[in-house]
């Protein structure tokens, strides 16, 4: 039976290769709970990004009917498809009413403080090449998701070190980093987290 700090190494945190003692698992669960809502948001957005990247080819020029009209700076854009459905906002792929041009438009809730000052709709990107436009937007979203993930790790780190300083907080944070960067699709950071875990195991003289 494998033991560490007098505790049985009893479990594997869900979604992570880390093995925890009971105390470490409690620290992991508490720290992860503080980031769960945003973690779920990242996961949902990531699914939507994959989905719209896979289905864009269906949205051929001129074939889709507008599902709504979105007026931005005098242009009545034809909303073709939702790309992201966020908790408060939405992002639509839109087509120019007269020209061969597409736009990614972010819609804000009318009653929000942001929309009252800046308007309900903002064009994020425009391009006549649909595939290029969607690819560029997908890259922007991925970048934002990685940014969100790094912030979640910082928060989890604070909780782990402040509330569970005796429960291998560094290891707990590595496991959380691994999950966050994995869900955000950041392979490089996942590899970094794995390397950090590998180094820590080597430092403890464990076979890896």
């Amino acid at each position: 039976m494998l033991k560490r700090k007098g505790q049985i190494v009893e479990s594997v945190a869900s979604g992570s290769p880390a093995r925890f003692t009971h105390g470490e698992r409690e620290a992991y669960t508490a720290a992860f709970k503080t980031i769960q809502p945003e973690f779920d948001e990242i996961r949902q957005i990531q699914r939507e990004v994959r989905s719209f990247q896979q289905t864009t080819w269906k949205l051929r020029e001129g074939l889709s009917d507008a599902i709504a009209i979105v007026t931005v700076e005098g242009i009545e854009w034809h909303a073709q498809a939702p790309l992201l459905r966020l908790p408060k906002c939405a992002v639509f792929l839109c087509r120019h009413p007269a020209e061969n041009e597409f736009a990614i438009i972010h819609l804000f809730p009318a009653e929000s403080a942001y929309a009252k000052a800046n308007g309900q709709d903002q064009v994020l990107l425009r391009n006549s090449n649909l595939r290029q436009l969607v690819g560029e937007y997908a890259a922007c979203v991925q970048h934002t998701l990685r940014f969100m993930a790094s912030n979640l790790v910082a928060r989890a780190q604070r909780v782990a070190w402040e509330q569970f300083p005796e429960q291998s907080p560094g290891k707990v944070v590595r496991a959380i980093s691994w999950r966050c960067y994995q869900v955000a699709g950041n392979r490089e950071s996942v590899m970094d987290a794995e390397r950090a875990g590998h180094t820590a195991r080597q430092a403890r003289g464990m076979r890896v």
Binding site: P37, E38, E41, I45, A68, V70, T71, A79, P82, L84, L86, P87, K88, C89, A90, F92, H106, L107, F108, P109, A110, E111, S112, A113, Y114, A115, K116, A117, N118, G119, Q120, D121, C140, H143, T144, L145, F147, M148, N151, A154, R155, Q157, R158
Partner: protein, 74 residues
């Protein structure tokens, strides 16, 4: 679409009331602006908001920074 109209493409949202003068987390800033966390992060990346970092490395936003955005001229 005008500001007064409710956008049928969107879910509900928006608490414009400003709490105390301490730096806000992204979630708190999102609530204040009436948007979601993802939107706040994308506003930061588009240089519409300038964030700070808390001592633990978390992104925070000052109420005065948010005020620049909510008082912007269209």
């Amino acid at each position: 679409m005008t500001n007064e109209e409710r956008n049928p493409l969107l879910p509900s949202g928006g608490d414009a009331s400003a709490p105390a003068d301490k730096p806000l987390t992204v979630s708190e800033a999102a609530r204040m602006l009436g948007v979601d966390s993802f939107t706040v992060f994308s506003l930061i990346q588009r240089d519409k908001l300038v964030p700070s970092r808390s001592p633990t490395g978390e992104i925070v936003l000052t109420p005065s920074e948010l005020a620049k955005l909510t008082q912007a001229e269209r």
